[in-house]
Symmetry: C2
Subunit: 255 residues, 2 copies
């Protein structure tokens, strides 16, 4: 089984990590569109064009399944269930919303996301499409990505900022970590929320879907990473997160 | 007089603001390469290509002078003093370094900058090229841009982070604000450093150079802004910073 996934940069590596943990035999091709990151502040038409180009590129690699490992790109591709070549496409928003709807008991779902994702209301709209009577509280958490990228997960500043972001979400019993970087802060968020709140990691929701694929146990665990620009420190990030990339091949095409 | 300047996004607007304050009669053309921001994490070859394209675009607008209003792009174009068309090019690094060298009394210059700029050692190398016996302390301040972009200038978190960044710079009597966003925090940095430290705003250093231009008083104060992508909130940023854009023309070409 060959899974292709793409993101604008390092963020999607957390999705890759989670997928590899669940599907250790699958082969993976990761495309990081580092030349055009970040996606969060791009116009929808631009993002649609980039998303299509990335999907076409992964199709050329003959993948069996495509995962859009980026919330911004996912938000404009919610309706895309297959590529022009017929390859099934998964995004990181649909499965996590469905899981959140099944999980909540008090009917209040919280969504932590970037400013762009929050502004787009993609989560709240999609959740209310699934079930109208649920309350969705969205909280933009713009400082979390830079704090994670600075490695300040255990820092008092991060705890202070997290408390601020979590306060309006206090009534939610289910919390979607709606940005690829946020699962890295899962222990800290869990500690602040307490046992009464269920955290939903969208990567895990996608992984649970892919586990049902008939060829899930076929493959050699191979990983190929493609970047559109040789981004400094991408490899460091990747190695730190994925724990040794001795099986990885790095290529720098210009898709 | 027609001044063209470019940056990857909103950052260069602080440079534009400072230049307009000093040169109220000059006409300005601002190019924000929003489709390809940020520049800080791009590979040098990529950045060189983008810089050249932006310079070519401004040359097509028949500007008299080009200002590279971006520290990352400036760092790879230090030696560029004129375009292929012969238009003089100013960057934001050279003038601020020269001013810092003239200003320091104790021979210790501090440089606050992004991670990429700090890693490139462009400031310390250039300052020591100017005067070998000066000590340059560089401090990467990666959280300041997101904090400013969140409007948290007066927030206790920003003060806390600033104190942390300023600590290693304590012995410097001259401090270069080596990122376009940092001058927005000038009052806060000044308050924490005290009167013994001189802050150097690179935009002001460039403005002082341009004031010497013979045609500085010719023009109508016209401003045209070009963006390579219709970035959400760019206009809000621009209006908040420049205080009303009733003279501005906005165009969205694809240079």
């Amino acid at each position: 089984m060959h899974i292709g996934l793409f993101d604008s940069g390092v963020g999607g590596l957390t999705v890759l990590k989670e997928l590899r943990r669940h599907l250790p035999k699958a082969n993976f091709t990761y495309l990081g569109d580092t030349a055009r990151l970040p996606y969060g502040n791009k116009a929808p038409e631009t993002l649609r064009k980039y998303t299509q180009e990335n999907i076409d590129f992964l199709d050329q690699q003959a993948v069996d399944v495509i995962v859009i490992a980026c919330h911004s790109a996912s938000s404009i591709a919610l309706g895309m269930t297959a590529s022009e070549e017929g390859t099934p496409i998964f995004n990181v928003i649909t499965p996590s919303c469905e899981q959140a709807v099944q999980t909540t008991k008090n009917g209040v779902i919280g969504v932590m996301a970037t400013k762009a994702t929050t502004r787009s209301q993609v989560y709240s709209n999609f959740i209310n499409d699934l079930q109208e009577d649920l309350e969705v509280i969205s909280q933009a958490c713009p400082l979390l990505v830079p704090l994670v990228e600075e490695g300040l997960m255990e820092d008092e500043v991060t705890e202070f900022i997290l408390k601020r972001y979590l306060k309006p979400l206090a009534t939610a019993d289910t919390l979607i970590l709606g940005c690829t970087h946020y699962p890295i802060l899962k222990p800290q968020i869990e500690a602040l929320c307490g046992a009464g709140t269920t955290l939903i990691d969208p990567a895990e929701s996608v992984a649970q879907r892919l586990e049902k694929h008939p060829h899930v146990n076929q493959g050699s665990g191979r990983l190929e990473i493609y970047l559109t620009d040789h981004a400094p420190h991408f490899l460091e990030h990747a190695e730190a997160l994925l724990g040794g990339l001795h099986q990885a091949a790095f290529l720098f095409p210009n898709p």
